[in-house]
């Protein structure tokens, strides 16, 4: 459903991503791995429109998206989380999720001013849906807390919940387990399995925790210096010499 054809990006002579290819099938869970600075997050930024590729193209279900802005791509069905958590800090947990629902409600300012039925119904629906998503992530009890007061692991979860609220077809997770303790990582693994089942969704994730990646992903793409050096099942990657040299050889 997602086809990435030879995309590159050029920042004043430096190419953090060079001729990157990727093809995602519906329902897959694919891992994007590589050493620090390999260009993984840049790939995410290209897929979500934060950066525009200087070469190549990206299509989602046959439609070109590589020329679109982030909010347009999000509406088409690709949402993401961020390596350095980007919550709406001073807003409550539930509000964070509600913001992401904004494209699914449409009452106008006038509807709001007159407190009419449309406004009330939509806000009611919104509240219920947002609570449903929070409950999946066991965040329901924190709904009214300021999001910046959540512990780190829960902030990461909230970011995933927020990304799911936009009803995406593809979810991009940028180091979802970073900074989590083993218990939290274990929970996260279960949560990801759960959302795959519940939301019928395709996931691409970046992660450094190899146990996590090997256990959860069906397919892996390895990049180094912006270029793909290997593709395959976790088992194939484990025994790929180039990958071992480039990455796993570092003692990971």
């Amino acid at each position: 459903m997602l086809e990435v054809e030879k995309i590159s990006v050029n920042f004043g002579g430096i190419k953090p991503v060079d001729q990157f290819d990727l093809s995602l099938q519906k329902g897959e869970l694919v891992g994007l791995i590589g050493p620090n600075g390999a260009g993984k997050t840049t790939v995410f930024n290209l897929l979500t429109g934060v950066y525009t590729p200087t070469e190549g193209k990206i299509t989602l279900e046959g439609k070109l998206i590589s020329n679109l802005k982030p909010f347009q791509i999000a509406k088409k069905g690709i949402t993401r989380t961020f390596q350095n958590i980007r919550l709406f800090k001073s807003m409550t947990v539930i509000e964070n999720v509600k913001v992401a629902f904004d494209n699914r409600i449409n009452y106008s300012i006038l509807d709001r001013l007159f407190n009419n039925k449309k406004y009330k119904d939509q806000e009611q629906w919104l509240h219920e849906e947002a609570m449903k998503i929070l409950d999946i992530f066991d965040l329901g009890e924190y709904a009214e807390e300021q999001s910046m007061n959540l512990p780190y692991g829960k902030q990461r979860k909230l970011e995933i919940a927020r990304a799911l609220a936009g009803d995406p077809k593809i979810l991009l997770l940028d180091e979802p387990a970073a900074g989590m303790n083993p218990q939290e990582t274990l929970e996260l693994r279960e949560t990801i399995k759960l959302i795959r089942k519940q939301f019928d969704i395709t996931i691409l994730l970046i992660e450094h925790d190899m146990n996590f990646v090997m256990d959860i992903c069906e397919r892996l793409v390895v990049i180094e210096y912006g270029k793909i050096i290997a593709k395959g099942t976790p088992n194939e990657i484990k025994h790929n010499e180039r990958v071992i040299n480039a990455y796993l050889g570092q003692g990971a």
């Binding site: 920042f11 997050t41 930024n45 934060v50 961020f82």
Partner: protein, 297 residues
């Protein structure tokens, strides 16, 4: 054609003054990211000091200039220590409001001391130098020369000396600079010291060119100098100079040249200035010499 060249000369003159004031804005913004709204008023204090020096203390213009430099540089450093330093880690909007407060304070202080009205500054009538049909006043030549020499010195200071390099480093990344053992406090004081001294010189050159002083005289030149700094790329020393001269040219051309065939141009001169600023910012948001910074995601 003569009119045209005359306007280039006028542009150089007023542009050099804007550039001197703009340097203070740019140095301060570069390090503390504060739009120092009081900077134009420091320049005004410089003009008043020279005024007192000449009319009351009977100093020569050179000594009056020196006095203005001393008073303003001390004033600049003091303002930073008292009013801005406590707010260094506060939201930036607060520091902005404080700067506005300082600006009000200086204006009202001068108003109390000297009255709200305009006072004539002793003029230095000198026979203009004639080159063909062109007239260049000695004041213009001296002003431009002083400004250019100061800018060259400043550029050398920033590029070659240890203190100058420390300033540039703090401007790039003050946290990293302080980790490398640079005293950010001292660098900030230095920026205010140099900036205010230059503002004093700019102020004196300004009153010599337009011989009168009034408490609000710093507002418009201050605003324009600030625009000059933004135009050239704020935080960048050569940018302030480029912006200052650009602004000087635009102003003298709309007022002196365009108005010769379209009289209302004088009234629209400031609108032209602001339009140029807007256009430049829209094309290149960080100013003519500014670097584009990509936000890390």
């Amino acid at each position: 054609m003569e009119l045209f060249i005359q306007q280039i000369i006028n542009g150089l003159h007023i542009g050099s003054i804007y550039a001197l004031i703009a340097l203070g804005y740019t140095m301060v913004y570069g390090i503390v990211k504060l739009i120092n709204f009081a900077h134009g008023d420091v320049m005004m204090v410089g003009a008043y000091t020279a005024f007192v020096g000449i009319t009351v203390l009977d100093l020569s213009i050179g000594m009056a200039l020196l006095l203005a430099v001393i008073v303003c540089s001390v004033l600049g450093v003091t303002i930073e220590k008292i009013a801005y330093k406590p707010l260094r880690n506060a939201p930036r909007m607060w520091a902005l409001i404080t700067a506005i407060g300082v600006s009000f304070f200086l204006q009202s202080l001068i108003m109390i001391l000297f009255g709200a009205g305009t006072k004539p500054f002793p003029s230095f009538a000198s026979s203009p130098i004639k080159i063909g049909n062109l007239q260049v006043s000695q004041i213009t030549i001296v002003s431009v020369a002083i400004a250019v020499i100061l800018m060259v010195f400043l550029e050398l200071f920033i590029k070659k000396t240890r203190l100058g390099k420390a300033m540039r480093a703090s401007s790039e990344d003050s946290q990293a600079a302080s980790l490398m053992g640079i005293s950010v406090n001292r660098t900030i004081s230095l920026a205010f010291f140099i900036g205010s001294a230059l503002a004093a010189i700019g102020g004196v050159l300004f009153v010599v060119a337009y011989p009168q002083v009034k408490p609000m005289m710093g507002v418009m030149p201050g605003l324009k100098a600030f625009i000059a700094a933004v135009l050239g790329g704020i935080g960048i020393i050569p940018g302030a100079m480029l912006g200052g001269f650009t602004l000087g040219f635009i102003e003298s051309f709309t007022k002196g040249f365009v108005s010769s065939f379209w009289p209302p141009a004088t009234l629209w001169a400031d609108a032209v200035l602001f339009s140029v600023l807007i256009i430049v910012l829209l094309i290149k948001p960080t100013g003519i010499l500014g670097k584009n910074i990509r936000e890390k995601v």
